[in-house]
Symmetry: D2
Subunit: 385 residues, 4 copies
């Protein structure tokens, strides 16, 4: 089989000093599927161009703003033009950039939370449907092989009927006042850029996606409490939510950035009538499965008895750990498979095109809106749609 | 120093087949402070007497009901008479038995939840104050040395201002239908015997006490959601609560007995402005302390740098694990120290008389009442006190 | 069934300040099978009597030396006389005390290492055979339920043919110079009292017993390296051994008391053709089983799928941890079952009379002798007859 | 600062179905320092060319044998010519390929064990010295940030004088008979291709390098026992070694591929007079440090209090795990830094050029030779020197 050509991509955002842009680029480099050819790496033109030069972008494709990037790509021949754009800006730019590229017919991967409002989300979903493009959302934690194994165990019925879901996502980096030069903290705490929530949107959105992906279930009601511990903060740095599902299942989501001393402590626990699963992001190569009627099991990435979905998401033999970047890369592998399938006029193999889509991102936006509504309400339960 | 005489005790409840009565007896046997001399081991007279005989009680002090036990003790000389009674019956008998023995001037240790209603709790607190007796409540988990270390770290200011408290207490034993002959399950699920809650009272009460003991803080408002997953169950087998404290701190309590496959998975996490503590009951000899400004620390029972309160609660050198029975015994050691201090007309050393008292039990009863009130309410927040 | 009377015991050694004597007493108190009635708690008469008085021994049975204790017991009526003696002295007294009590017809529990020489061990084995008494050796770590589960898994064939055994027993308390008043350290480092080895005898003996008990296999050859890191120490504080078994299996034993910062870090790993077991003493309620053809399993104490031998060795439901004292108590429960069986003229149920016997102790003594011989030899392999 | 050009590399070995070649390529892709331009991917010309085509090599630089590759590169202009070759063949080809490329002036990264004999190793070291090229050996485990932190802690004196070193490297994949079509297993078990050892060379070589790198110490004597459990195997599948160091320190290395059910279980423990370190490859983002005089510490990758060497080896914030590929990439980053420094006529910053060099590989070869010599000897100690 001759090798397929690499997919060409542009990046919007992710200039010097940004954290997540570099992760996206490493993730795309890992599996030899993508080639980086263009970018507009900052909303400040000068900063954008310096970053692009430092990172080796050719001058002709190193742009000062995303509009220039888009226009330039539209002028290029199919042999040069990008296949997709990766949007890693602060949240406020997700909507205009994503919409413009989708409407221009480009495939997109966009960071979470997808957009600021469910109206924007609906518009974007509609645009994606119209354009027929691939649209992935970088909910990277559900790219971990053992999270996919958890999802497959639930799907297979190994847990019976799911009745209890707990996601805790605790960090401690906002326990201290934010430094005036910490750009990546500052925009997250600015409502104009981050949106209507802080910790809830930044990490609670991952918790929502993790719960929904693994269980395949959407809560019907929620009860939210948002708090802000840092002096002068306009947005929440702590969120705690009760969930109720239509089938009676219950859940709790906790997202805090003031759990001083914790790093990136995302944990999932799902119980059904037949057993319980537990996964910790900081030790991601194992999934603990406690069945009702037998010993607890430590499922490890790469073991031959895992599901096809989990095995496919790994690169190395068992015992050779994979981690954050590989999970991120799995999102992009799914996007690439979908792009290639569409290019060849086929429907992608769902095992291959396994990635969070625009509808997942839109659902996350609606969830956050309801969290904000609930937090402001004196009523216990706020319905989700 | 000549050895002090052993304290004589009677047990009410705890006959053949009971779980917790045997634990109380082993806990009292461990440290050579107590001597078991009398009992009324069941509410069924015949069963009581058979159990007492099996367990070696002398016939004259092996009673068919607690009233006979009490009357008999009141007739005995000070050289024979019990010092304390240990009440390990189903919850509905706690109140009448405890009240009667307190009013008769006996010291008491009583299981949790203390009584059914806050009115009973108040009456019992008042009776204890009148009688001047010692009254311990067997919140055994706060007897663990590393829980006491956690409390001391909070007291010392090592965590700064506490802002977030999470207690998860998950078991799986009610994931299956209860067998018709499982006496210890049946009474827990019968409102007449267990009280107004199931999992909340049985294990959520421990969670409440653990949070309150370690932080020294009481929530001001709570928001509760109780669920019952088992077919035909009258009481909750799952509880999830949001907490708000007067100083703005937030908290979550989860207590479930339908987390299939889990055993006795009680976990505590407390974050303050300067760090986070985490403790797991199933591996109780360590406490993880994540300070804001330095590496995570594994504090281990028996290490010389622990607080005096934690060191005092241990018996063995570090690395020689202690566990559930020793934690239980620590509650009794505190009670014994208080009894001996009062006998000698002194105020007990607080380090020695370190045990949950009747006021702690009463607070737990009020908490459960408010949980029930909140669970039935459509308002988000229900005030405590 | 009327309760059987408690077994009466005397203790030799274990006076004020001793560590292990108190553990033996707590272990015997735990299960209501034993009653402490007599003692000679130190080799210094005055210290012996003060200790006994402090601990509540009646004057008439509180002796200044073990010979007086023995003579006094022989004079007493069967209704008063002790059933067994617990010998918890420094090692040099094990032989004369044990031999005298055995020859007088008393049952014995003796600390490890049993005696100083294999000649003594053989003499003691012969004496026990002649007298027909019960003789237990307090290899307490093999009393842990999950160690028994490991043994049963090997016996059942779940591991296939055992091929590799590793025991690491690391402590750090001899990383510092020993204080002049640390009596329990000083005797361990004095060849006259401790015997021909230091760390090897003190903790290596546990490692040998653990490997032998779990696998049921004795090494045929060993290769030993003993080291002494503490300035001026006459005995080893570090031992490392290679083992070869007759069937070709290999093994490693490491015993160190200069692993600074470690506490009581005893770990066992056993591999066979079908899987591997791992157990850590500091977290003793779980046993990790990694089968060749399926997910790793965490076996937990008290779970219903454990072997009868492991279940019998537990007192509490799963998830309610048991620890060091309970494991110790299991040795005594086995001894008690054997004493009671013999008293009734029966052969004990092996499940009940599950404890390390004099032959196990004698094998341990020969093993240590061979370690010393090997350590002094330039030949690689020293045969274990 | 304009970005430096990527370094061009060729690969020898690593065709379709090989495990480690793909890892090398992913490692080199991760950090945007390398560009893959040429290869001879198998010793079978047809297989080589098919593999190269599948992986996207241009025809002109996709060779059927390494000699053709070398000749072709020598003909190319400096603008096209490779900077380095990555040798990922079975062991028997390391020597001729590496020697030829070094003598031709190319930089090299070569898999371990470096070569078959110490004579070859010496010749290769001499050739590298003559040519002045950079030569890295892919001891990838010492590329882990927390292994580097361990090394820095030892260097800083935090452990005091090192006295005890234990490395256990256990896998289970050779517990089963090797399939006739398992190419990567077959060559490892063939003396002609693998060399004089099996497990010892394959994974014991990593254990040796790990111990030496972290402690900076070389053993003076060793005592080896090699075993072969698989029927008909010519090489060891299990190795156990005692080590003695000139300063009196002791050590144990265990390397087994018949620890059924284990995956890639490499563990390091180093004790000095002031503390102990422990690291497990399967959970590589943490290093446990047990100091003599304070609580155990969990050092985590990315935390600001780590050494510069450890921080430099990470890419992501703490709590975002990195793993095997990143560790591998760190070896290549060190090689790249050294190549760039030499290209600019400078001495590389040791913090940047942190990678295992040809001398480390040569030392590993001598170590294996001595292991074989010791295993065949009846004398306990075989001198290294």
């Amino acid at each position: 089989m001759p090798k397929e050509r690499k997919l060409r991509y542009a990046m919007v955002g992710g200039g010097n000093g940004a954290f997540i842009g570099a992760v996206h680029r490493k993730a795309m480099a890992l599996d030899d599927q993508f080639e980086w050819v263009a970018g507009a790496l900052s909303s400040t033109p000068e900063r954008a161009r310096v970053s692009g030069a430092d990172l080796g972008l050719a001058d002709a494709r190193n742009h000062g703003c995303w509009q220039d990037l888009l226009n330039d790509e539209l002028r290029r021949s199919p042999e040069e033009r990008i296949d997709l754009v990766s949007i890693v800006t602060p949240n406020d730019l997700h909507y205009p950039v994503a919409l413009a590229f989708v409407e221009a017919g480009f495939h997109v991967v966009c960071d979470k939370p997808l957009v600021h409002t469910s109206a924007q989300a609906d518009a974007l979903v509609a645009a994606v449907q119209r354009s027929g493009t691939v649209f992935g959302v970088s909910y990277n934690y559900t790219g971990y092989p053992m999270v996919r194994e958890a999802r497959e165990l639930v799907r297979s019925g190994a847990l019976g009927q799911v009745c209890k879901i707990t996601v805790q996502y605790h960090q401690g980096w906002l326990s201290k006042p934010v430094e005036a030069n910490d750009r990546k903290a500052l925009w997250r705490m600015d409502p104009a850029r981050s949106g209507s929530t802080g910790a809830m949107g930044d990490i609670g959105s991952h918790a929502e996606n993790l719960a929904a992906t693994v269980t395949g279930m959407q809560p019907a009601w929620l009860c939210a409490d948002l708090a802000s511990f840092g002096a002068g903060r306009q947005l929440d740095d702590d969120a705690q939510l009760l969930l109720r599902y239509a089938n009676g299942a219950r859940g709790v989501i906790m997202a805090s950035q003031v759990a001083a001393g914790l790093e990136n402590d995302l944990r999932l626990q799902v119980s059904g009538t037949l057993g319980t699963l537990e996964w910790h992001q900081e030790n991601p190569n194992q999934l603990i499965h406690s069945p009702l009627d037998g010993p607890r099991r430590i499922l490890t990435r790469g073991a031959p008895w895992l599901s096809a979905a989990a095995l496919r998401a790994g690169r190395l033999p068992a015992g050779h750990p994979e981690a954050f970047i590989e999970a991120f890369a799995n999102v992009y592998l799914g996007v690439a498979a979908d792009i290639r399938a569409r290019a060849s006029g086929q429907t992608a193999d769902p095992l291959a095109a396994d990635y969070p889509q625009v509808a997942d991102g839109a659902r996350g936006v609606r969830f956050i809106e309801k969290v904000v509504e609930s937090a402001a309400s004196e009523r216990k339960w706020t319905a989700l749609d």
